[in-house]
């Protein structure tokens, strides 16, 4: 029956990224917000499709000009990375303009950008959506003045890992030795790179009640212990919204029959040396605010604790029968150290049955950070 279904018939096959022609262009990343610890502009260049490392545009002069004429310089700190000397105050209603002068003597600039005020987030919330069978993390916001209209969110997620089979032994130089420090609680960080934007243009109120940021399956390992989402909200200009919506559209293509045909996306930075030169990227200068939400599987009724990140297979080591001596650490080491295993010997006695698991299942510090983030609450 499935053969009758068009949706099942269509299929996507990965292909190699092959470069067919190339255009070398300047890329400006200038997302300046007061929520960041330091203001940063990154200058890079396009690279051929399929190449590994981006090329940076170094040794340029980068500065932002406040409407009153104050100039904030962004000296280069790393190749292509330019950071402001100080975290100057971004003033709502004032305009700022980005200037770049490259080592080749080419200059670029943005138009003056007026800083919008960003309303407070009404709430960041999570709920279980039974129709889609997902844990939905969403943001709600509103602006009674109706001035904000276009929003962009940056999200950062953190989740706690608990080692499912804390290891008590480890192999050190072919010997089985007791494990002194076994991390049982770790933290993982992830910054999804999806473009989260929404507009309320055409709505009677500047209000967003449920903008979905993240959907997690109820058995997603993220929800095993505790999950937290930090949402940074920025009110952006209509032009910025248009730019980021085009970036989103071209970055998150599904390959359907009705995908909009792609083309070049014009940002707000232009070359003042060569009018026809295409410059990629966008200059946003924003004031934002943020909110954090915690969530875990216990908030979803009817679901058991999700599994650990890594599949943990508990295996038993049986000493060979022709060797009545149950076990010598050296023998085991010879057999198993190659697979990097950590041993758990129940009751601490090594001549008992040996149960072993993957290293990642015995000690979460092998895959995550053990430091408790300061925002983590119990």
């Amino acid at each position: 029956m499935s053969c009758c279904l068009i949706f099942l018939i269509s299929c996507r096959t990965p292909i190699d990224l092959e470069s067919l022609g190339f255009e070398d262009l300047l890329v400006v990343e200038a997302f300046i917000t007061d929520l960041d610890p330091i203001y940063q502009v990154t200058l890079s260049r396009t690279s051929p499709l399929g190449s590994e490392n981006p090329k940076y545009e170094s040794n340029s002069t980068v500065w932002i000009l406040h409407e009153d004429g104050t100039r904030f310089d962004f000296p280069m700190t790393l190749p292509g990375v330019y950071q402001s000397e100080s975290k100057f105050e971004i003033i709502t209603g004032d305009s700022y303009q980005l200037f770049i002068s490259t080592v080749d003597g080419l200059s670029y600039e943005s138009p003056p950008i007026v800083v919008k005020s960003t309303p407070n987030i009404d709430s960041v919330f999570a709920y279980y959506d039974p129709t889609e069978n997902v844990a939905q993390l969403s943001v709600a916001t509103s602006d009674e003045s109706g001035d904000s209209r276009n929003y962009r969110w940056i999200i950062e997620e953190t989740y706690e890992l608990t080692t499912p089979y804390p290891a008590e032994w480890k192999i050190v130089r072919d010997s089985l030795v007791p494990r002194i420090e076994t991390a049982t609680t770790c933290f993982k960080y992830n910054n999804p790179t999806n473009i989260f934007i929404e507009t309320t243009q055409g709505k009677s109120q500047d209000r967003i009640l449920d903008f979905p940021l993240r959907s997690l399956s109820p058995d997603d390992p993220h929800l095993r212990t505790k999950y937290s989402l930090l949402v940074k909200q920025y009110a952006i200009t209509a032009d910025s919204y248009l730019f980021w919506s085009q970036i989103r559209e071209q970055s998150e293509r599904q390959g359907g029959l009705f995908d909009v045909q792609p083309g070049s996306i014009q940002g707000n930075i232009v070359s003042t040396s060569n009018f026809e030169e295409m410059v990629l990227g966008y200059f946003d200068i924003l004031k934002g605010n943020e909110q954090r939400v915690f969530y875990d599987h216990s908030d979803i009724p009817g679901y058991n604790q999700p599994p650990y990140e890594i599949e943990c297979e508990l295996l038993t080591f049986d000493p060979p029968e022709d060797n009545p001596t149950p076990f010598t650490p050296l023998e085991v080491a010879k057999i198993y150290t190659r697979s990097n295993l950590i041993f758990e010997a129940p009751n601490g006695e090594i001549n008992f049955e040996i149960i072993y698991v993957n290293e990642q299942c015995g000690d979460c510090s092998t895959i995550a950070d053990t430091n408790v983030p300061e925002f983590w609450n119990d």
Binding site: L17, E23, L49, P54, W244, R253, L257, G263
Partner: protein, 927 residues
């Protein structure tokens, strides 16, 4: 040897098949070695063993067998056995045995026919001069073709003026249904003089007085030849029989010599019943998909709606169903066409030299004829396939006068989707149906009325996104009348509406309902004038009124925060007058000269945006708006549309034709997706959108072999288009109040050579078509923002230079046949990334010039097996099974290549729509 000598044909003048028995004895030593033998070999044996010679056409006896199981004392007894169960008669003159094929001329004549002409017997006593009679015979032996058996006499011999033409008129009907047959070619054989019957099946032909050999031919009907002796004006009614052996054969353009004799170029005709045997995706017969196997007709890829003709865009095709335009031709995203072939008779697709009566689109006219229901007998047929079920009823209301066709088709794909064990599918829905009904009423001999209505509906919802519903609703009333022998007329009124809406309600606060609609009403009057056999004039007026609701956004419920938004309606009137003359300049040369003069007015009420002159239109350069009151003209456009064709007959079976035509288009589709999407909207010409204008030159050579069984044609074309619409990158075409700032108008050109080889008869038939063609666009401006690809020519996304199709059909016997498709074409152009870069934590893609890369070539083989139930005449239900495999080799032909960022990294994918072989079984029945 196998040719009957002409001079003996007059024997059947008497209207009977005379058998002259010579009584000579056959060689008594002769015996047949087997009981069953072919007639042909039996004849050979007789010829070898006796003095007799046979005269016949081999086609009469091909493949026929006889049982000869004893000694035959006389030649007559032998012949009587030889021809048993055949349609052959014989007569013997001296040592020559003439075989003739049986004709049933007598039974076809209507009683009134005997009123003003003599038939079947020459009244020698009335003859006022025996010399004329002998002269008749002389003429007869001079012109008559070999396979003729009877001569009919028309008019009064006393009135005969041998140096003048006489008028022959009459009606051509379908022998089976008694219905008049429009469009039958009535031709004086081997002379290129001919006419076609009008809507009422009537013809009038100026014909040289004397003996003539007439050929009546019509698609799907057995060609009928008549020898007529014309003395003066008179009537000849004929009835054509369905071409029995072609019923189960793939036939296109079966009017044997029409491709040679007509002035028409670039015409594709497809009969519905012939395409039923082609292996189609999901077993769904489809006229448009079948047309794709013929030269010059292409599509973007599998599953994309619409079709492209000679490099034209999808919206440049005028698709008419009994005269009413169909705006959305696709069901189910484009996998199927909205026309259910079992409700239609045939389709004519004009790729060039579009008749002057049609206008309004640049590239082609697809004229689809809904079936006229049988007026004698109730017929019900239907079919069950994996996607749809369909049923068709032909209901006689007044015998031989009025009948109704009702036909419906519906998918049960929703049912399928619901049963898929995957939540995203079971939350989806996709279904469609279409219904068509037609009333045909032969009011009297001179008047005929038909009323057609059509509705199609689609809805789909993928996962829990918006629900999209689409509707076509259209209908037409056509009245045709025969004013006199020289004049006829057609009055037509039609309407068509296409609308879609999107309904989103997952989050109540965001719930909305978006709707779009385009409506068209059309009225036309056409007059045909046939002053003599050299000229056929067609003239008329055609008025269309358009009304568009470009977008209407409404909140979807009380909780919704959606602000209603209504884009202003657009209204326009397109009117045209036309005249054309199909003029036979000489025996060899004929020409069709036509002029259509069309005008378009966008009318108020309207508010038009004004922009600063000389700089690109944008919201920033808008200077204000201009208001127009209701009925006021906002903008006018008008211009001539020339239609010109010249045909030169190089021989009786080959010709050269050239054509030039111009078309103007005032309504345009806006689309920025690769495939034509069901939610693409339309836009009228107005202040900021100029009409599209297209010019096409074409030149073709046409050759028929084997009496039209094999057709070969080569056509070359060059086409220029101006004011073709495209969009700026990133343009939003929905609900855009300043839509003109997102639209570009530029030039298009396409050129190519199309080759077609068709075999129309025999056990193996089908066609091979090869096209080389390019289609290019150019959007140039002094402003980079209004350029595409730097203002240079670039290929359209359906530009596929090489195109090869081989469609074959092999009939093993009456119950079993095999059909196959072989399709190859160059991969289509896509826009390919030029570079990658990092932005906002992820790799991003930089695209530049459009359509500079091609995906892999397309190659597909399909196979179909057709089984028919047995042919017992008394059986109540006639049933058949078709088993087909689409994409037999399971080749994963790419539809597109696309790139996406996953976890911050760019990944490339090839998307194939039908990546596997798709077997389907369909069941059809008729009773």
């Amino acid at each position: 040897m196998k040719i009957i000598k002409n001079k003996f044909v007059f024997i059947v003048f008497l209207g009977f098949h005379i058998q002259i028995c010579s009584g000579q004895e056959i060689n008594p030593s002769f015996r047949f070695s087997t009981d069953t033998t072919s007639i042909e070999s039996a004849i050979e044996i007789i010829e070898n063993q006796s003095e007799y010679h046979f005269m016949y056409l081999s086609s009469w006896i091909d493949g026929k067998y006889t049982i000869l199981d004893r000694d035959y004392p006389t030649i007559e007894s032998f012949l009587d056995h030889l021809i048993i169960n055949t349609q052959i008669n014989y007569f013997i003159k001296e040592n020559v045995i003439y075989l003739t094929e049986n004709f049933h001329i007598e039974t076809e004549l209507t009683p009134g026919l005997f009123g003003d002409e003599e038939y079947g017997n020459i009244d020698i006593s009335n003859d006022d001069g025996g010399h004329i009679f002998s002269r008749d015979l002389q003429t007869a032996s001079g012109i008559l073709d070999e396979n003729k058996t009877a001569v009919q006499f028309i008019g009064n011999r006393k009135e005969a003026d041998w140096n003048e033409n006489s008028f022959l008129m009459g009606e051509v009907t379908d022998k089976k249904t008694g219905e008049p047959l429009p469009g039958v070619t009535v031709q004086i054989k081997d002379s290129f003089k001919g006419v076609t019957t009008d809507f009422n099946g009537n013809y009038k032909l100026a014909i040289p007085t004397g003996l003539n050999n007439l050929l009546f031919s019509f698609i799907g009907m057995a060609p009928l030849e008549k020898n007529v002796m014309i003395y003066s004006d008179g009537n000849l009614n004929v009835a054509l029989e369905e071409q029995a052996y072609e019923l189960e054969v793939v036939v296109i353009e079966s009017d044997r010599q029409k491709n040679i004799t007509s002035t028409q170029t670039g015409l594709i005709s497809l009969e519905s019943k012939t395409i039923e045997f082609l292996p189609m995706v999901m077993g769904e017969p489809d006229l448009i998909k079948a047309a794709l196997t013929l030269p010059g007709v292409q599509t973007l890829g599998e599953g994309s709606g619409g079709f492209n003709v000679r490099g034209g865009k999808v919206d440049q095709n005028l698709v008419l169903l009994d005269g009413a335009p169909i705006y959305n031709t696709s069901h189910f995203f484009g996998f199927f066409s909205v026309i259910n072939p079992s409700s239609t008779d045939k389709m004519d697709l004009y790729k060039s030299s579009i008749p002057a009566q049609f206008g309004g689109r640049l590239s082609s006219v697809m004229d689809i004829h809904v079936k006229n229901a049988d007026t004698e007998k109730l017929k019900i047929s239907g079919g069950i396939g994996p996607i749809t079920g369909k049923i068709n009823a032909e209901i006689p209301i007044i015998k031989n006068k009025m009948s109704v066709l009702a036909s419906g088709r519906s998918s049960y794909s929703n049912w399928v989707l619901k049963r898929v064990d995957d939540e995203s599918f079971s939350n989806s829905q996709a279904s469609f149906y279409d219904v068509v009904t037609k009333l045909s009423y032969q009011i009297n001999e001179k008047n005929r009325l038909s009323i057609t209505g059509y509705h199609s509906h689609d809805d789909f919802k993928l996962s829990s996104d918006s629900l999209i519903a689409m509707n076509n609703l259209l209908g037409s009333v056509i009245w045709k009348t025969n004013i006199s022998n020289k004049w006829d007329a057609r009055i037509q009124g039609s309407f068509s509406q296409y609308d879609f809406d999107m309904n989103y309600d997952r989050i109540p606060e965001d719930a909305f309902l978006f709707s779009f609609a385009v409506r068209e009403q059309q009225g036309s009057a056409a007059i045909g004038f046939f002053p003599n056999e050299k000229h056929t004039f067609d003239m008329g007026v055609d008025v269309k009124r358009f009304e568009l609701s470009p977008g209407n956004l409404a909140p979807g419920g009380d909780e919704s925060l959606q602000v209603p938004q209504n884009l202003e309606r657009e209204r326009g009137i397109e009117s045209a007058v036309y005249i054309s003359d199909d003029w036979e300049i000489s025996e060899k040369i004929s020409s069709k000269v036509g002029l259509r003069y069309s005008g378009f007015a966008m009318i108020g009420a309207a508010e038009t945006n004004l922009y600063a002159e000389g700089i690109p239109k944008s919201i920033a350069t808008q200077t204000g708006t201009e208001s127009f009151s209701r009925g006021e003209s906002v903008q006018n456009y008008h211009g001539p549309e020339w239609r010109f064709t010249l045909r030169y007959a190089t021989t009786a079976s080959s010709s050269i034709k050239m054509a030039y035509d111009r078309s103007r288009q005032y309504i345009h589709m806006l689309s920025n997706t690769a495939s034509i999407s069901p939610t693409d909207t339309w836009k009228l010409s107005g202040k900021h959108v100029k009409p599209q204008i297209g010019d096409q030159f074409s030149l073709g050579y046409y050759k028929n072999l084997k009496n039209g069984d094999i057709e070969i044609s080569i056509e070359g074309f060059y086409k220029r288009m101006s004011n073709v619409l495209d969009y700026k990158t990133g343009a939003s075409l929905l609900l855009n109040e300043n839509i003109e700032t997102s639209i570009l108008q530029g030039d298009g050109k396409s050129y190519g050579v199309e080759f077609l080889l068709k075999k129309k008869a025999g056990k193996l038939n089908g066609w091979l078509s090869y096209t080389f063609a390019r289609s290019l666009l150019q959007f140039d401006s002094t402003f980079p923002v209004e350029q595409v690809n730097g203002g240079n020519w670039f290929p359209t996304n359906y530009d596929k230079p090489h195109n090869l199709n081989i469609t074959t059909y092999y009939k093993f016997n009456r119950r079993f046949s095999i059909s196959s498709n072989f399709v190859y074409n160059t991969g289509r152009p896509i826009t390919y990334p030029l570079a990658q870069y990092d932005l906002a934590g992820s790799e991003r893609i930089y695209y530049s010039d459009r359509n500079q890369f091609r995906i892999r070539d397309y190659f597909r083989v399909d196979l179909g097996l057709n089984f028919k139930g047995n042919h017992k005449i008394q059986k109540i239900v006639d049933s058949s099974f078709s088993f087909s495999v689409y994409n037999l080799l399971g080749r994963d032909n790419p539809f597109s290549v696309f790139f996406t960022a996953e976890e911050g990294e760019i990944k490339g994918y090839e998307l194939a729509v039908f990546a596997n072989a798709i077997p389907t079984i369909t069941y059809n029945f008729e009773f």
